[in-house]
């Protein structure tokens, strides 16, 4: 809702005041993805933003980790912009584009007024170099291929403002990929750096064309970003054009939860990332805002590794799916900002289909299925068959919020139907090796955010993340269809087919739709996020200056 609209309504007398109240309450409900608007934006000021972890790299294809992504989102422009609400792809550096029928050739027309922060022009050659790097990688420099770009073959610079990309097979996800932070455009010189030279300590030398530039860095502690005065190429759909409202942003790494929350409430910080579910009430009751942005991808869920013999019987997997009460998990550990999953995909994700009926909590059904499958309850309450206990292992997933608590509750729920779930908390090394083995890690706790149909392929395809450690050719076939179907409606169908299949085979126990949760001071306005919840400071402004 636009600000002038509020003002007009307010001027229209008592009847309108009621309407304003109504609208305001709507705003409060839908306002979960951005801070409140509050009058006319003010230019200037430095925003103090507290991060949970230090960033590790600013090489865009590896910048998925949220501390990286937040910075890349501020310092780079992309060819296209994805509307975080409608998920439509809109122009940004590219003014328009054409895609051939089978989505193997994309041609982009570029704006001619965009510059990198070192002054070089963002022209077709620079853009081509970016996607050649992200699509093919550069072994010599150690630069890896972007997960978001499939089947990339080559680029062609048609003229200064026109570039064509060709693909070896249909790549319908490419247009959306050009909008993600993983495709943030960097200056040609920056792309000549080795992977090591994108790491900590080098932030100020990573040159993009975004509204902010990094000017100072203290390794592992803080970053100082300044607004570019000459930035004038925000996506045309933005109401606000020209330079960012803020003069600068201080990103301060503050790993301790209570210190982050306390600093915000004490007025030492303006916006913080990663408000734990149990701290939300404290933040909200102090009059601060909670911005819970959906990540629009594969839900926070447990993948059932069916190549583990204990899980090879579909009835056992179905029993596990029906034996887990996701509602109880959310009610006990999380808040309303973590909606209960109704499918493997979030309800806000592209290609989502409601599977809630087939996934419903039904412990009695679970018991029947396990009886049927020949698993009888043993002396200690855990089921047995041919002398083997129905005992499974899952590792605590550090990136997932409150993973340990979640898994322990799930373990209690499964114990009630006679299944033992051991929750392990290994060091990173054991985690990395053991989670590659279905025998050691029968259930795998994970999620992935990306606002495109391809996200489900990323999660389950054998040549991508392969979280199920699958050997199921049928699943791969269905996933390939999602990533190679050029027609949008057909992609929806292909995505629905995957969800139906995952449900039918009981390969996944979806838990909840994972948000990124930010806390913001009441005087911070216009703080929003991009399509998968990375912070967007371009529209952010600060009402009163801090003392």
């Amino acid at each position: 809702m636009s600000t002038p609209r509020i003002r007009r309504l307010a001027a229209a007398g008592t009847a309108a005041l009621a309407a304003v109240a109504l609208l305001a309450s709507c705003a409060a409900q839908s306002g979960t993805t951005q801070t409140a608007e509050g009058g006319d934006p003010v230019e200037g000021g430095t925003l103090t933003y507290l991060e949970y972890q230090a960033h590790t790299t600013l090489y865009p294809p590896q910048a998925g980790f949220y501390p990286n992504g937040g910075i890349v989102n501020s310092i780079t422009a992309r060819l296209t912009w994805q509307d975080p609400e409608s998920l439509e792809i809109e122009p940004w550096v590219a003014t328009e584009w054409t895609v051939n029928e089978d989505a193997t050739e994309y041609t982009f027309e570029l704006r001619d007024d965009v510059t990198f922060s070192d002054g070089t022009v963002v022209d077709a050659a620079a853009v081509a170099k970016n996607f050649d790097t992200y699509g093919l990688g550069n072994k010599e420099l150690g630069l890896t291929i972007s997960e978001a770009i499939n089947n990339y073959a080559s680029s062609e610079v048609v003229d200064d403002d026109t570039v064509t990309f060709r693909f070896s097979a249909p790549a319908p996800g490419f247009l959306q990929a050009t909008s993600t932070i993983n495709s943030g455009l960097l200056s040609p010189a920056t792309l000549d750096r080795k992977l090591e030279e994108f790491g900590a300590g080098a932030s100020a030398e990573i040159i993009g064309a975004g509204p902010f530039v990094v000017t100072e860095e203290e390794i592992g502690t803080s970053l100082h970003l300044e607004a570019r005065e000459d930035y004038d190429w925000a996506p045309p759909s933005f109401e606000h054009q020209g330079r960012a409202y803020l003069d600068a942003i201080d990103i301060v790494v503050t790993p301790e939860d209570s210190v982050r929350i306390g600093s915000l409430l004490a007025g030492q910080a303006d916006v913080i990332r990663y408000v734990q579910a149990f701290d939300e009430a404290q933040v909200a009751s102090a009059g601060f805002e909670i911005v819970a942005a959906p990540t629009r991808g594969v839900n926070n869920s447990l993948g059932l590794r069916f190549t583990n013999p204990l899980l090879s019987d579909v009835r056992v997997r179905q029993a596990l799916v029906h034996g887990v009460d996701a509602q109880e998990v959310v009610d006990t550990i999380f808040t309303e900002n973590y909606p209960v999953a109704t499918s493997q995909l979030a309800s806000t994700a592209a290609g989502y289909k409601d599977e809630s009926k087939a996934l419903a909590f039904d412990p009695e059904l679970s018991e029947e299925l396990l009886d049927e499958a020949g698993w009888a309850v043993g002396a200690d309450g855990i089921r047995e068959k041919d002398g083997e206990r129905l005992s499974l292992t899952v590792y605590e997933a550090k990136p997932q919020p409150l993973s340990k608590q979640t898994l322990e509750l799930v373990s209690q729920q499964l114990a009630k139907i006679g299944v033992e779930l051991n929750v392990k908390a290994g060091d990173a090394g054991s985690y990395a090796t053991d989670t590659l083995d279905p025998l050691k890690t029968a259930l795998y706790h994970s999620m992935v955010g990306r606002a495109d149909h391809d996200v489900i392929k990323s999660q389950y395809f054998t040549k991508n993340r392969n979280t199920l450690l699958s050997n199921d050719a049928k699943l791969d076939e269905l996933l390939t269809a999602v990533a190679s179907e050029p027609d949008a409606a057909e992609r929806d169908k292909a995505s629905a087919a995957v969800q139906d299949y995952l449900t039918e085979q009981a390969y996944v126990i979806p838990l909840f739709e994972e948000p990124q949760v930010y806390g913001a001071a009441p005087y911070v306005h216009g703080f929003t996020t991009e399509a998968v919840a990375r912070p967007l400071f371009y529209d952010t402004w600060v009402e009163k200056q801090k003392k």
Binding site: A54, T56, E196, A200, P255, S263, Q268, S430, Y431
Partner: protein
């Protein structure tokens, strides 16, 4: 001089052993830094790509070659790259070291001052109950978890009383609370040992002689007892360096300071071998040097030891 030479030789042996043991232990851990960073699902890389990366880090050659490579690197001051950050290790350490030196140095100084104040007051204070209360303070201090103490200090002095900011503090402000957090638990064993050895020394015959000559309790303590009570305290101080490092890890995490402590914690989490190898050597050097200094200071404080050292 042979004494010094022998001590330096011992120190070198300790360093080589520390280096080798660390190297072997880190290699024996499951997984490696490349796996942890690149096979984690964030990136969606294929096993072939990960093997390429491992090759580019030189992590695919036989162990003994890696060992020789690392050793020769260390000898010329090249500590390699952090896999996690991609940054040269000397750059990471260079940024972290001054932070930690300031924190640990000041923390230790404040701890010593606190300990001396506590020990002296608990000997000199009027009223038995007050002396008793002061005596029991170190017991409280030592049982306070550093982590909890840091958070309480922040809550009270920064968030409630607004005396020092935690975020956006200048370098001096940024040290006050972390130094206190580190100093309080370290001061406890120092104070206990000092107080105990003051008691012991006060019972020695020579103190009785000094007292008999008419010296007051404060003069006895300062002029005669303190110097003799210091030896055991200095021994403990050497050992406490380890505790100081441990405390720094926690303190730096709570306060979000980017020091060696936090670098260590993250390197352990990510099995960042190059970083850990450098930190272990650094810690070993510090430990060896501190103990060497402690040993060399003994004879200065107690001339009897000097004669023994020379004789040996």
């Amino acid at each position: 001089m042979p004494y010094l030479a022998r001590r330096v030789g011992q120190a070198l042996v300790v360093l080589v052993l520390a280096f080798t043991v660390t190297f072997v232990l880190l290699q024996a851990l499951p997984g490696d830094a490349v796996l942890i960073k690149f096979e984690s699902p964030e990136l969606g890389l294929s096993p072939e790509e990960i093997d390429d990366i491992r090759a580019s880090y030189g992590a695919d050659v036989p162990l003994w070659q890696q060992y020789l490579h690392t050793v020769s690197g260390f000898l010329v001051g090249d500590f390699g790259y952090s896999v996690q950050y991609g940054t040269p290790v000397h750059e990471l350490l260079g940024a972290a070291l001054p932070e930690t030196l300031a924190l640990a140095g000041l923390g230790f100084l404040v701890a010593v001052l606190l300990a001396v104040a506590l020990a002296f007051l608990s000997t000199l204070a009027p009223f038995a109950w007050l002396r008793q209360a002061l005596r029991s303070l170190p017991g409280v201090f030592v049982s306070v978890p550093v982590f909890w103490l840091g958070i309480v200090l922040i809550q009270v002095f920064s968030f409630q009383l607004n005396l020092v900011p935690v975020i956006g503090a200048d370098p001096v402000q940024a040290l006050i609370l972390p130094v206190l957090t580190l100093a309080i638990p370290i001061s406890a064993p120092l104070a206990q040992v000092l107080a105990r050895s003051i008691d012991d020394v006060q019972l020695s015959p020579f103190v009785a002689v000094v007292r008999a000559k008419g010296a007051g309790p404060a003069r006895v303590l300062w002029r005669d007892v303190a110097r003799n009570a210091l030896l055991p305290t200095i021994t403990i101080a050497g050992v406490l360096i380890g505790e100081l490092i441990g405390g720094a890890v926690v303190t730096e995490t709570v306060f979000g300071r980017a020091g060696v402590g936090r670098l260590t914690e993250q390197a352990v989490t990510n099995q960042d071998v190059a970083v850990l190898q450098a930190i272990v050597i650094l810690a070993a050097v510090v430990f060896v040097v501190v103990n060497l200094v402690v040993d060399l200071v003994y004879p200065v404080l107690d001339p009897r030891l000097k004669r023994k050292a020379v004789a040996a």
